[in-house]
Amino acid sequence: MDFLLDIKTAMLPEAILSLTILMCTVLCFMLKQQIQKVIYIISLLGLVISLFSISLLAANKVFTAFYNSFSSDFFSVLMRFLILAGTLLVIVMTKDYSFTFKNRQGEFYLLILIAALGALLLAGSNDLIMIFIALETLSLCSYALSGFLKKDKSSNEAALKYLIFGGAASALMLYGFSFLYGITGLTNLTEIFSYLANNSGGTMLNLTLFTVISGFLFKVAAFPFHSWAPDVYEGAPVPVAAFLSTVSKIAGFAALVKLMGLAFNNIEIISITLGLIALLSITAGNFMALNQMNIKRLMAYSSISQTGFVLIGFALLSYMGISGAVFYLISYLIANLGAWLAIIIFNDQTSKNLISDLNGIAYNNPYFATCFGLCLLSLAGIPVTIGFMAKFYLFHAIVQMGPAYLWLLIFALLNTILSLFYYLKVIKAMFVCGQESINSKLVFNGGVLNTSFIALAVLVVILGILVTPFINIARYSALSVKLPIKQIEIFK
């Protein structure tokens, strides 16, 4: 039974998640609407089990499944871990929010779990077809999730925009896939890499690469395919926005790393393109975030600029860069989910979304403000937070590439000032004096939502200090990625 063995060695989390999905589907149809909360518990359980099952995957070897179209190396294991952890937190977020779904709670968890499954597959996919299928699984569920509030005009609109934009982007990507297939006659990535290592693809390959990348740029909301993000984040239910800005992005990055190997003959072009796109993402995100009043939109723009930082890691096309990007992703996941948790806690109790609604909240809710502030500071890259370490590590990686990448460093550095401005704007609102009366005390009663919120904020600080293991993990995972680099850099 090779097939089952493959699944056991390579796809255990996916398998467990699939079983959970099946169970949820059945329960969804069976259970009365009042007790569909059970599905919440079950999906949580499924996620936790599958999270633990990741540790059973051997990290030091590459395992494949489905005839080599799925491969599980350490990098993808790490990414899948992040995806599952992120999904878990997103589901936790819905605890108090789900009443807005009226009687369709079960469907919601179902869709989230399927989307997570798509993300997991995307992170491990090793074949163009697999990539496409996984991506579409993720995307279609995301569209549906965005429009989950059927009666809500903005939710509808968000879903519609997301769908149109996503459809066009995936068509563009597929167009690129078709040429990739045409040039090489292959769909398996490993084979394509070895083909490209021996044959030059010509100019056509360059164009192909650009179109292929575009699909992933859409998924991670990077410039120029970023404009859907603010609208969708604003319109979609808050947990969905959190999901899109974390899990879906991580999956996109994971797949993008897989495709890095395509740049074999065009290292410089791809590198500079990605660098440029990264910078433009950071800049566009930051500039547009400056004037935002709505905190959800602000988070959307901030996530665009954070995407740019991760892309810098990719643009370097070095192990150092990838490890920087991975470490940055970890920090981003923690801090961003923390921020979204704060938003959802606030939104659950006040149904408000504007930054000015937060005015003076710190004095009635010190823990809320402190934890939220820490997450924002981490996103801005202020010590002692994991975000600071991640930025430093990333910049360190840029500089290690030598003077040729100094422009990237300079622009990235300048952009951090802009980002500090709008993160501080939120913090300022929370701590501004004289308006304490606007906000009454939030209920902060130590439920799972609050516990995970505080836990994330604590993690932000703790991991900002105990940072070595995470850097090592990031480095180890980067080493398992196939990169089109011939010389091995100084990299312990």
């Binding site: 004095y363 500071l377 202020i382 010590p383 002692v384 600071f388 370490m389 430093f392 590590y393 910049f395 360190h396 840029i398 500089v399 290690q400 030598g402 003077p403 460093l409 300079i410 550095l413 300048l414 951090t416 000032i417 500090l420 401005f421 501080l424 300022k428 701590f431 501004v432 004096c433 200090i465 105990l466 940072v467 070595t468 293991p469 850097i471 090592n472 480095r475 100084i490 312990k492």
Partner: protein
Amino acid sequence: MEFLSLNILIFAPLIVAGIILSPLFPNDKIIVRRFAKGFSGILFIYSILFLLFFDPYNTDYQFKENIKFFSDTNWIEPLGISLGFGLDGISIMLVVLATFLVMLALIVSKKSITTKHKLYYSLILALTTAILGMVTARDLFLFFLFWELELIPMYFLILIWGTGKKEYSAMKFVLYTFFGSLFMLGSILLLNYFHVLNTGISTFSIEALTYSRHYEIPFLFESLIFLGFFIAFAVKLPIVPLHTWLPNAHVDAPTPVSMLLAGILLKMGGYGLIRFNIQMFPEMIKVFAPMLIISGVINIIYAALVALAQKDLKLLIAYSSVSHMGFVLLGLGALNSIGITGAMFQMIAHGLISAGLFLIVGVIYFRTKTRVFSHLGGLGQVMPKAFYFTILLAFASLGLPLLIGFAAEVMIFYGAFTSNSLDGFVLSNQLMTALAAISIVITAAYLLWVLQKVFMGNMFEKWQKVQDITPHETIALTFLSIPIVLFGLYPEGVTSLFLPFVDSLVSYFTL
């Protein structure tokens, strides 16, 4: 000496801040204040102990300590970042100055801080940790980390307890400093890059990058690195076109915070210039000495002239800070032992004097609710004690002999005048020093203007009921006056601590 641990010195304030902030701590403002004050007093005494056991003739770091996580050697092993602290000639004085000023700031906080005591005192203590960490860090990364860390408490202190356009000022302060620090970050990373390139070892250790740098960095990059550091410290010091955050931040910050800002945070710029620009790049500093001297002279004259035109007391004092920090630049630009000694001495002198002056401004503002000269006058009649202290501080500030400012200025003027760091440049050291000396007239003019407008002359009826300074403030001002007089009479008491260090510094770039 076992009981002297820098780790305790640096992190104890942070831990105490946590204790104060924790919900278990009683929310009684008197208890909070006394606890914080008591702790800061203990911290000051503790830092004095370091001073007593400090060996000035050892130019190396002393009291070295390393904290390790998950590794035998370093904090972040993959990058070669260590969590190491140490004291040498320049840091020891700043450590003592910092704990001293924090203690005084907490003593005078009684009047000016009326709300949110727990948060306030814990933020000040967190700020203390950041400052102490900055001056004792033996690792570039660590220095940078504390440099940025200091922004956050400072931001909140201005934002929450400030006056006027506090939100604007706080934001400006943070963004400006952050802007500068980015250049420093770039420089730190480039320095590390060239170290890796030449030795294959990634390290951020200041010692390694200073003393065992036996390879050449290309001139272009070395000057870029130098300028990166310089810009960061130029913002902090501040150097003239980059100074505009300072008036805003000072004017809108509450009194104790202004004291700390002027007293110790500005000195971080000077400290950085010595520690990095001079110590690490003895070759580059020779190239850039004209820049230091010219910007120093511009600082001195320009800021003094601006101060002359101010209508607001606190703004005037703020600009006088800028002007006085110009002397630090001038002294450093001299590139000789006496000039650098003078610059360091000036940092300490200005730290004490400006803290006192800002305290006086706060005292007046608290009682009259105005800082505009035209509304003040004749206050000497109702607050004689404040008047006498102001006279002392003002004269110390304008460089009256036998007070602390004079010794510093003399050393700087002498160092700058006899220096030849501008050889081969269109201007001569002598001319620039003579230009800078004009400031002794302008400084006298604006400081005496303050005395005249605020304390002398006719008094408005409405100030008849104004109270003289409280015992707290008297104690703080007396504490400030003691070193101002003492080290004015006996400057060697301070200079001997860092003279050997400066000598070793100068030996690297003997002109």
